[in-house]
């Protein structure tokens, strides 16, 4: 290699570095400050005290992402980044995690956020005397220790290789609330939340709006860009979209059942449709102890009779993305072969014939227009295959009761968009778990699940989970209909919206152009 050439390479390299730096600065300058953003949510928010509301729903999550901070955040690649925690480390068995906390962070009431405050939040939820409905979700954590003001140690009952990722989500378990405010306000704390987050609750009229104003002493200097965020519960999807069209809202939450408006917005230049391909899926579990589902041929036949593309076309104008495994395109689990059974009506008919007896069963369906529509589509698919399904409409909460008691033959269920597949996969398929709905036990499946949760290398874990998917698909104990897709529709001027993890629209880093 000649000298001038090498020099040229160096120069080009330097230029690229300089240029990238320039681009980065100009991008930073493009982020305009000020302005107010009005967001149309679906549901009214019940409150923020975990002891009162237990688990946040999607609307509460969105507000929580503004008022509170979590230890970590997820970047667009799905990797954990520092937030209230600056760094973290783990023991070899992934059962002890140590977090170094950010110094100098204050709650909106002026009290300090430190390891003691973190421990207070955790202990309050964990304390059996408080009977928090949120405690179930931290059952895997044995205790939290605070050896010094800026160190928090999580001691787990079960290994968790992705704890920092799981902690990024603004759930009732993960957000840090002010111990002083919780103690001082008692029953009234629920509707007067105090966090460390980028916005402070200014006013809140139940059923109408929550007005949040910029936290002027936010630890992340220069943030947030917006001066004000207004959250409005707009339950009716048509009216919600109309409020966006009429200019009353700048951004709205939506889902694929409102496909007409999503498709319309995609064609409207002043609107931007933000779509997030999440992990997880809408799923269904066979009770493999109840005939005819004790025979794998019947289960396979029913799965092979599903034409998911047609199904998607029928219910959401084709927006729903067919699922072939429980992880989905949004998961870091990538499978070359997930073992999905193909759509093959002839094979399905043949399997039913081979079974010999008439295939008749009941399926639980939520008593909602959506639930009924899904049930009717499935009924038709299976009729073509030679099976007779009867729809049993029940209330959403009754489905849970029936599922736990295993009083069903076939039930709908959901795998939500979490940063790690382990909590749900382990609960749904490990022998002995209360939500291992299929009543199915397989030593190989248990071995894979146990192995996956203590393996750190993502590729090796991916292999485990793909093997699990192949096993479940082949045994057809559960099947998956559609992947989780989340939507937000915004005016084009709304910039910097992060990915909609688990359907939560976090507007804290956004700005208006």
């Amino acid at each position: 290699m000649s000298r001038p050439f090498r020099f040229g390479v160096l120069l080009t390299g330097a230029l690229i570095v300089a240029l990238t730096g320039l681009l980065a600065t100009s991008a930073a300058q493009a982020q305009k400050r000020g302005g107010s953003l009005t967001v149309g949510l679906e549901l009214d928010i019940a409150g923020f005290d975990p002891l009162k509301v237990g688990v946040f729903d999607t609307s509460a999550n969105m507000a929580a992402a503004l008022i509170f901070d979590t230890l970590t955040s997820l970047d667009d690649k799905g990797e954990a980044q520092p937030k209230l925690a600056l760094s973290w480390s783990h023991s070899d068995d992934y059962k002890t995690w140590t977090f170094k906390l950010r110094p100098g962070v204050k709650f909106h009431d002026g009290t300090a956020f430190d390891a003691q405050a973190l421990k207070f939040n955790f202990d309050r939820q964990k304390d059996p005397k408080n009977k928090c409905r949120c405690a179930f979700y931290i059952a895997f954590v044995k205790e939290v220790q605070a050896p010094d003001a800026l160190t928090a140690v999580y001691v787990l009952n079960d290994p968790q290789v992705n704890l920092p990722k799981i902690m990024a989500f603004a759930s009732s378990n993960n957000v840090m609330q002010s111990p002083a405010a919780m103690q001082a306000k008692g029953d009234d704390y629920n509707r007067n939340p105090v966090g460390t987050g980028p916005f402070i609750v200014k006013s809140w009229t139940a059923g109408d709006r929550m007005v949040l104003e910029k936290n002027l002493s936010y630890w992340n200097e220069g943030r947030p860009y917006l001066d004000r965020v207004v959250l409005r519960p707009l339950p009716d999807s048509q009216a919600r979209f109309a409020s966006l069209e009429a200019g009353e809202s700048d951004l709205i939450w939506d889902d694929e059942f409102d496909s007409d408006n999503i498709l319309k917005a995609k064609k409207t230049p002043r609107l931007t449709v933000h779509q997030h391909v999440g992990s997880g899926a809408t799923v269904y579990a066979f009770n493999t102890k109840a005939p005819p589902f004790d025979d794998v041929r019947v289960r396979r036949a029913l799965v092979m009779a599903l034409d998911r593309n047609k199904w998607s076309q029928l219910v959401t104008n084709g927006l729903s993305r067919p699922a072939t495994n429980p992880y989905g395109d949004g998961s870091w689990v990538k499978c070359k072969d997930d073992g999905a059974l193909p759509y093959d009506l002839a094979k399905a008919q043949a399997l039913i014939k081979e079974y010999g007896k008439p295939v008749k069963f009941k399926m639980l369906v939520t008593a909602t227009p959506r639930g009924r529509a899904y049930g009717q589509v499935l009924q038709q698919f299976w009729k073509l295959a030679g099976a007779e399904m009867e729809i049993e409409q029940v209330d959403q909460t009754a489905i849970v009761t029936r599922a736990f008691a295993r009083q069903f033959e076939l039930t709908p269920w959901r795998i939500v968009d979490l940063a790690d597949p382990d909590p749900q996969m382990y609960a749904n398929f490990r022998t002995g778990s209360p939500v291992a709905l299929a009543n199915y036990s397989n030593p190989e499946l248990d071995r894979l699940l146990d192995h996956a949760r203590v393996t750190a290398d993502p590729e090796k874990r991916s292999e485990d989970y793909c093997a699990i998917s192949r096993l479940i698909n082949s045994e057809a104990i559960w099947f998956w209909s559609f992947q989780n897709t989340y939507y937000a529709i915004a005016k084009a001027k709304v910039k910097g919206l992060p990915k909609l993890h688990n359907g939560v629209i976090d507007v804290s880093p956004t700005w208006l152009e």
Binding site: N190, D208, S243, A246, E248
Partner: protein, 316 residues
């Protein structure tokens, strides 16, 4: 008159007892379980049982009802299962919105129906009468939620005259308040006016055939004076009854309208309470609505007595 009022008030107690008992029964017959609704998908049966015990849901129904009732008598409506907010505070915060909505709707409905009915009755069988009666019939077959969306589309999205959703408190900005109440009130009024119009029209046609009307005409009184002064009062007895009974329909309509227009009223509170199985809120709202309904109809009875002396002086 006082005896009449006391006599009618005596009715209130058994009616309210029956209504609250029925709600209690119906709520407990609802499929699904509050404890499950609160705990979410992944809760264990043990956790659900513990929560049920905690909330007293494992107690027999009659015991829970008596407990609740004794609280009400002492002015304690309890606290929401879900938010811990006192029920009375939640209801009182939302009541003004619904009251304003219903009042505006009723006034609008009357303002539309009375002139139309009088005009139709005076010229019954004419072209105007037939068009209006036809329109009324057509409107009766459009449900509220449909009308609401159509109005939003026309006035908020296309013309941009009025807001599509939202609420501004009256004491903050009365004009803004009126602007955001107009479409919801109109939606409800559009469902009400056909009924009111048809009732008044047919009563008026009958009254206009009475001898004293012919007498008034013979005296040479102006047609407008005859219609508004001589004919309207005796024709409006059924109208008032229907308007009173329609308060029930109006409340039902308000639930839907508040949902679509995102108004923070009592109807939305009720709907949310049903979805989340928040029985304390549900009971409280039903008690309020039932009391309101009974009181309105009680007032209608009184108004009857004012309008028609025969009722006032009737032997008991």
């Amino acid at each position: 008159m006082l005896g009449f009022i006391a006599y009618r008030l005596g009715y209130l107690v058994p009616v309210l007892l029956a209504v609250t008992l029925l709600t209690f029964l119906i709520a407990s017959l609802l499929p699904g379980d509050l404890a499950h609704a609160m705990l979410g998908d992944q809760a264990t049966p043990e956790a659900v049982e513990a929560l049920r015990r905690d909330m007293g849901l494992d107690q027999p129904l009659w015991w829970r009802y008596l407990n609740w009732l004794s609280g009400i008598v002492q002015g304690d409506f309890g606290r929401s299962f879900r938010t811990g907010e006192p029920v009375l505070r939640a209801i009182l915060a939302r009541l003004p919105v619904s009251l304003e909505l219903m009042l505006l709707a009723e006034v609008t409905a009357l303002a539309i129906s009375i002139p139309l009915a009088i005009h139709c009755a005076a010229n019954s069988g004419g072209a105007f009468d037939r068009v209006v009666t036809g329109l009324a019939f057509a409107k009766l077959s459009i449900p509220n939620f449909m009308a609401a969306i159509l109005l939003i589309y026309l006035f908020a999205v296309e013309l941009r005259w009025l807001p599509a959703t939202g609420y501004v408190p009256l004491d903050e900005d009365w004009l803004g308040n009126l602007r955001c109440m107009l479409l919801p009130a109109l939606t409800l009024a559009l469902a009400e006016w056909p009924v009111l119009m048809r009732v008044l029209r047919s009563d008026m046609i009958t009254v206009l055939q009475e001898d004293y009307i012919t007498m008034a005409r013979a005296k040479g009184l102006k047609s407008r004076r005859i219609l508004f002064v001589h004919a309207l009062k005796p024709s409006s007895l059924t109208l008032i009854t229907v308007a009173g009974i329609n308060v029930g329909r109006l409340i039902g309509g308000a639930v839907i309208v508040e949902y679509v227009f995102a108004l923070p009223g009592i109807g939305r509170l009720l709907l949310a309470a049903i979805y989340t199985r928040d029985f304390m809120i549900l009971q409280g709202v039903v008690l309020f609505v039932a009391t309101g309904f009974v009181i309105v109809n009680f007032l209608v009875d009184l108004l009857y007595a004012v309008l028609d002396p025969r009722i006032r002086h009737a032997p008991k």
